[in-house]
């Protein structure tokens, strides 16, 4: 699936929710479901410090593709992080580097990618794109 298809799927899933409660409960569930990152990678060098919540991000490069695992100390952020991983993980560096991420906005969580810098999600996206750029030799 392309990055675009992944995002459109998520937007589809969210279109079934009637109110913010259901939407957030879903995100929270996603946040709780799985530890997204191997404990050994949950170290300071993988830490992306936002103003409010922490995000850990680990990248693996295999067969021309980037695979991400991640985690956060805030559960809503973690839910969003897991969606971000779902969208970008397993894509080529080039696609990641040039990806336009619109699903956060579309599902009504714009502030997480806005200038308020109140959590680590924006920084995480930047970091993912950095990996993408680095690996596709664009930097």
């Amino acid at each position: 699936m392309t990055i675009k298809e992944q995002q459109d799927n998520i937007i589809d899933e969210f279109s079934f929710f009637d109110d913010w409660t259901e939407k957030y409960e879903y995100i929270i569930q996603m946040g709780k479901d799985l530890p997204l990152i191997d404990e050994q990678y949950k170290k300071d060098e993988n830490l992306i410090r936002g103003c409010q919540s922490k995000v850990w991000l680990h990248a693996d490069y295999r067969d021309g593709k980037l695979y991400f695992t991640a985690d956060s100390d805030a559960v809503i952020t973690k839910g969003l992080v897991s969606m971000m991983v779902r969208v970008l993980s397993g894509q080529t560096p080039k696609e990641i580097a040039s990806a336009e991420i619109y699903f956060i906005d579309a599902i009504g969580l714009k502030s997480h990618l806005s200038l308020t810098r109140s959590n680590g999600l924006l920084s995480m996206l930047k970091q993912m794109k950095m990996y993408g750029m680095a690996m596709s030799g664009k930097m």
Partner: protein, 414 residues
């Protein structure tokens, strides 16, 4: 919390709320519950009107103009200075310096006092509950001057450990800089005692009044603090304006902070002589509108009555404290005997950011995070807190909405 003011009347809050246009706002279709007053306060209509009036009727540059508008603006600007002086009962008008805000005021003192009086090995004494704005400026000047920053620790209640203060107050200390009220813990510090002890040792004291000036009567001559800083936007006035009060004798001795128009008497390339107080510390065109309108915000407070404001706030604060205390697994961060303005807490293992976001979705505005007091968070080993902070326009039903909102968020997150 305090009860000394039991005689003052509680305000008619519903009537008061009509004075504040923003409080009528809806967020996500529901009435806004604004509990982020420690970050910034809303403005009464009088303040908006005064801003408009200034720009529509007598906007002009001050001090150097012979023409009518300039005289009107200058007069209004100096009247504002007098209002501030009267509000804190300063001995002289020229002890009031208009700045950009608390941060700017403290930087002015740290830089200018520090440049004149700090030598290698000297100490600056602050506390563990200071806002970054009362930490970083001192770190910067200490580094420049080879001086050492010392810190009065806090206890688990979020109170200053005064026995440690006594020990730290050696003759190496050149200035003590502490906050009157903590913005993240709500603690009211024993500033009278701090000032008396510091003065007994001949050491001047700067009071960060950013969270005090809107809640507690501050009589600078009684308190006898040497410097006092606050922000206009936290006292129902505009953003971009603040106040530094300094005792004449210190301000006279200190070198100017910034150079430019208005702060000089005479400029040649060979030698420049500086103007007298307060102008020596007001380089460049001041925030004329901001200063005038801060004066109007003070008028509003005076008209409403600070004693009544305080009583009203104590009432809602006590109510909030008691209702929050009843929420299972809620713990307060900061539990000082003397509290003002803010209540910080955490619920179970819920990350404050998650709580804040779910409260926001219920149109309740609280602040989450470290509140620019990271060392406090480090002390309590927490990533941050949820902080509800109150003004006299907050109501008991708003507290009820907060409690209900927390319960809902807890159910969703647990």
């Amino acid at each position: 919390m305090n009860s000394e003011l039991a005689t003052a009347v509680i305000l008619d809050i519903e009537k008061i709320r009509k004075d504040f246009p923003l409080l009528q706002t809806k967020v996500y279709g529901k009435p806004l519950v604004y509990l982020d007053n420690a970050a910034t306060t809303q403005k009464p209509f009088m303040v908006l009107q005064a801003l408009d009036d200034y720009y529509a009727r007598y906007n002009s540059n001050v001090h150097r103009g012979v023409h009518y508008l300039s005289q009107q603006a200058t007069e209004a600007y100096e009247v504002a200075r007098r209002k501030v002086a009267a509000y804190i009962n300063a001995l002289h008008e020229h002890e009031i310096i208009f700045t950009k805000g608390t941060t700017n005021s403290i930087n002015l003192v740290a830089s200018s006092f520090g440049r004149k009086f700090l030598k290698p090995g000297d100490e600056v004494l602050i506390s563990a509950m200071e806002h970054h704005s009362n930490i970083v400026p001192w770190q910067m000047i200490c580094e420049e001057k080879g001086a050492i920053l010392k810190v009065i620790p806090i206890n688990d209640q979020g109170e200053l450990r005064m026995e440690r203060f006594d020990e730290l107050l050696t003759d190496k200390v050149k200035i003590v800089a502490v906050t009157y009220v903590s913005n993240s813990l709500g603690t009211v510090n024993p500033v009278q005692e701090i000032i008396q002890k510091a003065h007994a040792a001949g050491i001047p004291v700067l009071l960060d009044c950013a969270q005090a000036i809107q809640h507690i009567p501050v009589n600078i001559q009684e308190l006898d603090a040497d410097f006092l800083a606050f922000s206009g936007h936290k006292i129902y006035g505009p953003t971009g304006i603040g106040v530094l009060y300094g005792k004449e004798r210190w301000l006279d001795e200190m070198p100017p902070y910034e150079g430019g128009g208005d702060m000089i008497k005479n400029v040649t390339f060979a030698k420049t002589t500086y103007n007298e107080l307060p102008f020596k510390f007001e380089a460049g065109t001041p925030d004329i509108a901001g200063s005038i309108v801060l004066g109007v915000a003070i008028d509003y407070i005076q008209k409403t009555g600070l004693a009544a404001i305080r009583q009203t706030e104590e009432d809602v604060l006590n109510y909030a404290y008691n209702r929050l205390a009843a929420i299972p697994s809620l713990r307060f961060i900061g539990n000082a005997r003397q509290r003002s303005g803010a209540i910080s807490f955490l619920v179970g293992n819920i990350h404050p950011f998650d709580m804040g976001e779910l409260l926001d979705k219920q149109s309740i505005a609280v602040r989450t995070g470290h509140h620019c007091t990271q060392p406090v968070m480090d002390f309590f080993k927490i990533p941050g807190t949820v902080r509800a902070s109150f003004a006299f326009y907050n109501t008991r039903p708003e507290v009820d909405a907060l409690v209900k909102g927390i319960e809902k968020a807890r159910q969703m997150l647990d």
